[in-house]
Amino acid sequence: MAVLEVRDLTVSYPTRAGSVPAVRGVDLTLDAGETLGLAGESGCGKSTMAAAVLRLLPPGTRTGGSVLLEGEDVLAMRPGRLRAVRWTEAAIVFQGAMHALNPVRRVGDQIAEAIQLHGKVGDKQAATRVGELLEQVGLPARRAASYPHELSGGQRQRVMIAMALACTPRLLIADEPTTALDVMVQAQVLALLEELGRELGLALLLITHDLSVLAATCERIAVMYAGRIVEEGPADKVFEAPAHPYTRALAEAFPTIGDRASRRNPHGLGGDPPDPRDLPGGCDFHPRCPVSIAACPTLELQLWPAGPGPSGRRAACVHVRDGRPELVREAPVVPVGEDAPAHRG
C-alpha cells in the first residue's frame, strides 16, 4: 500500500473576488522508502498541496478529491483522528522553517514539545529522544540547550528536520528545504535527507523550484504549473530529456557548469509564473511557451504518456499527445531580455 496517494486533489482559496483555484486536479503516489520531487515556482500550488496532505489549510478553503495517507483519507478525517495523525504519520518541514523557531525557547524544548503533544511522555524520556533525534540529523546532543539565534541557518534547518522526525512519521515533506542555504550546506542537508530516507524507510516528498536539486536527489519528479502536474517520470529522464517545454525551461534555468551551450547564454522564459486568480486558460503555459500552437489556448489538458514502454513518463503537452516530442526537444531557445515578448502589465 502506498504511503501517500493523492487522487484528483483540488484546493481553492476563498477571496473577496471569488474562489481562487490553487490546486486543480493532482494525482500523486508515493511508496515507503521512495523519494519524489515536486518541481514548481511560486503560485503553482506546490506549497498548498503540501499543506493539504496534513489538512493545514486556512479555514474556508474548499477541497475536493482525496488524500490517502496509509489508506485513510485525510480530507475526510474527524478532527480528533486528524490531530493524532499529524506528525505521527506525516510531517512537514515548511519553507523558511528556519525562521519558524521560537526565539525565546531552547531548541531542545521545542523538539520535545512535538514529542509530548503526541503521547504521555515524561520530560526525561523526551529529553533522551531529543538527543537521539539531534544525533540523527548530525548535530551533537548538547545542542538541545541552544537558542535558535545561537545556531547557523544550516543547523536550524537540521533542527527543523529533527522536529519533523520526532514522532517517527512514514512520510516527510520538505518544502524548499534548501532555498536560503549555501550550496555546501544545501548538499549537507540533501545528503542528510537521503540518508534518513534510507535508514528509516521514509517516503520523502521534496519540493523546490531547482530542478537540478531534484534530479540529483530523487527517484521520480513531478513538475507543477498553475495548479496542475504537467510532467512526471523518472528523475534523470525528466531532467535530461524533458517532454514538456516548461520542464525544459526549468532544467535549463540552472546551467550545467561546463556546458558550452549555456556559457554567456542564460536560458529562461519571458513573462512570469501565472497568478492563480488570472489564469490564461487552456494550457496555462501557452503565453510563455516557445512551441505553442493555435490549439493551445483552448486545449483540454491531461497527462499523456511520453517516452517508450512502461517508464511511467507522462506530460501534459499537445506535442506529446501528437507524438512529436522532438518539437519540444529542439525548440529554439527563446531570446530573453530586451527582445523578449513585452511583459504583461
Partner: protein, 350 residues
C-alpha cells in the same frame, strides 16, 4: 611569477582597470573592547576591467557582501584602498556623491529594495532627483525602464511594487540604477530570490547591458552556475580572502583550490563523481584559523595528499599570502599553486 609589486599587472585587453581594490581590509570592531574583531574582509586584491563581468563567489560569511559594500562606499574599509579609474574613493559621504553616479548597486531582494509607498516612476526618478540631473525627467525614466525590458515604460509609471512580480521588481531596481547612466554595476545576488524561470532573463539583461552600454559588472553570488552563465572572471572567497581567481572557464574547468573543487563537486547534477561534502560550516570571521584559513576543513589535507607533497606543515602553520595580480589563474594553496608555494616562504604574511 612572483607578484609582489603593487602596480596592476598589464591586462591582455591593454586597458586600465575601471575598479581596483588593493589590500582591502574591512574589520567589524569589538564593542568597547569586549569580544573580538570580525575580519570580514582580510586582505583582498581585485580588479574589474571596463566591459568585464567579474563574479565574486562564496558562501555566506565569506566577506563578499562586505567587500561589495566597501566598493560602493557604503562601508568604510579598515585599511587598504578602493580605486575608481585610478583615483581612491573619498571617505566622507559628500565626497562620494559624484562616485555614486558612476557605480550603482543592484540589491538581492527586489521586494525590500523598493519603498512600497513609492511608485515605479518615483523609485526610478529618485536617483535623478538626488543628483539634480538635467533633462526631461519623464523621458529619462522612460528610457531607463525601457532599457531594463519593461515595455511600454509608461504603463509602469504608476505601478506600485506590490503590484509587480519579482522579476519586474528587479527590473525596476535595475532601471533605477541605469537612470544615472553609471559605468559600473555592483549586483548583490541579483537573481537568488527570483523564480527559476525568471532568472534567465534578468541575467540576459545584465549581459545585454554590458554588450550595449559597455557597463562593467561586479556580481556577488553564491551560485557558481551564475558565474558560468555570465561572468568573464571568477574570484572565489573564503573567510575574508580570495582563494582562487582567474578566467571563469579556467577556474571552473580546472579548479586549483581544494575549496573550489569541493564547491564544484556539490553543485547538484544528475550524475556526479563523488561529491566532496565538507563537514561543518565556515568558522566565524572572529575566529580565523591559523595557517591556511581553510586547513581545518581541507579535504586535501585530511586525505593525506598535502602530506605526500610535503606541504602539510605549511598548511597548518604558515599563513597563505594574499593573491595579487589578475592576468592569470591562481589559487591561494600551497599544494596546488607553485607560485604561491614559492612566494610563501619569502614573506611574512599576516
Amino acid at each position: 611569477m612572483t607578484a609582489t609589486q603593487p602596480a596592476p599587472a598589464a591586462s591582455p585587453a591593454g586597458q586600465e582597470p575601471i575598479l581596483e581594490v588593493r589590500d582591502l581590509h574591512v574589520h567589524f570592531g569589538a564593542r568597547r573592547g569586549r569580544g573580538s574583531t570580525a575580519r570580514a574582509v582580510d586582505g583582498v586584491d581585485l580588479q574589474v576591467r571596463p566591459g568585464e563581468i567579474v563574479a565574486l563567489a562564496g558562501e555566506s560569511g565569506c566577506g563578499k557582501t562586505s567587500l561589495a559594500r566597501a566598493v560602493l562606499g557604503l562601508v568604510e574599509p579598515t585599511s587598504g584602498q578602493v580605486l575608481y579609474r585610478g583615483k581612491p574613493l573619498g571617505r566622507a559621504q559628500r565626497a562620494l556623491k559624484p562616485y555614486r553616479r558612476e557605480v550603482q548597486l543592484v540589491l538581492q531582494d527586489p521586494t525590500g529594495a523598493l519603498n512600497p509607498r513609492q511608485s515605479v516612476y518615483e523609485s526610478v526618478a529618485e536617483g535623478l532627483r538626488i543628483h539634480g540631473v538635467k533633462g526631461d525627467e519623464e523621458t529619462l525614466v522612460a528610457d531607463a525602464l525601457a532599457r531594463s525590458g519593461l515595455r511600454p515604460p509608461r504603463r509602469f509609471f504608476l505601478a506600485y511594487p506590490h503590484e509587480l512580480s519579482g522579476g519586474q521588481r528587479q527590473r525596476v531596481v535595475i532601471a533605477g540604477a541605469l537612470a544615472l547612466e553609471p559605468a559600473m554595476l555592483v549586483a548583490d545576488e541579483p537573481v537568488s530570490s527570483l523564480d527559476a524561470s525568471v532568472r534567465g532573463e534578468i541575467l540576459a539583461l545584465l549581459l545585454g547591458l554590458v554588450r550595449d552600454l559597455g557597463l562593467s559588472i561586479l556580481v556577488v553570488t553564491h551560485d557558481l552556475g551564475l558565474a558560468w552563465n555570465i561572468a568573464d572572471r571568477l574570484a572565489v572567497m573564503y573567510l575574508g580572502r580570495i582563494v582562487e581567481q582567474g578566467p571563469t572557464e579556467t577556474v571552473l574547468a580546472d579548479p586549483r583550490h581544494p575549496y573550489t573543487r569541493a564547491l564544484l563537486s556539490v553543485v547538484p547534477e544528475v550524475r556526479h563523481a563523488a561529491p566532496q561534502i565538507l563537514s561543518g560550516e565556515p568558522p566565524d570571521p572572529t575566529r580565523i584559523p591559523g595557517g591556511c584559513r581553510f586547513h581545518p576543513r581541507c579535504p586535501a589535507l585530511a586525505s593525506g595528499a598535502a602530506a605526500e607533497a610535503g606541504v602539510d606543515d605549511r598548511c597548518r602553520g604558515e599563513p597563505v599570502p594574499v593573491l595579487r595580480g589578475v592576468a592569470e589563474h591562481h589559487a591561494a594553496c600551497f599544494l596546488t599553486d607553485e607560485s604561491v608555494r614559492k612566494e610563501g616562504g619569502s614573506r611574512v604574511g599576516r
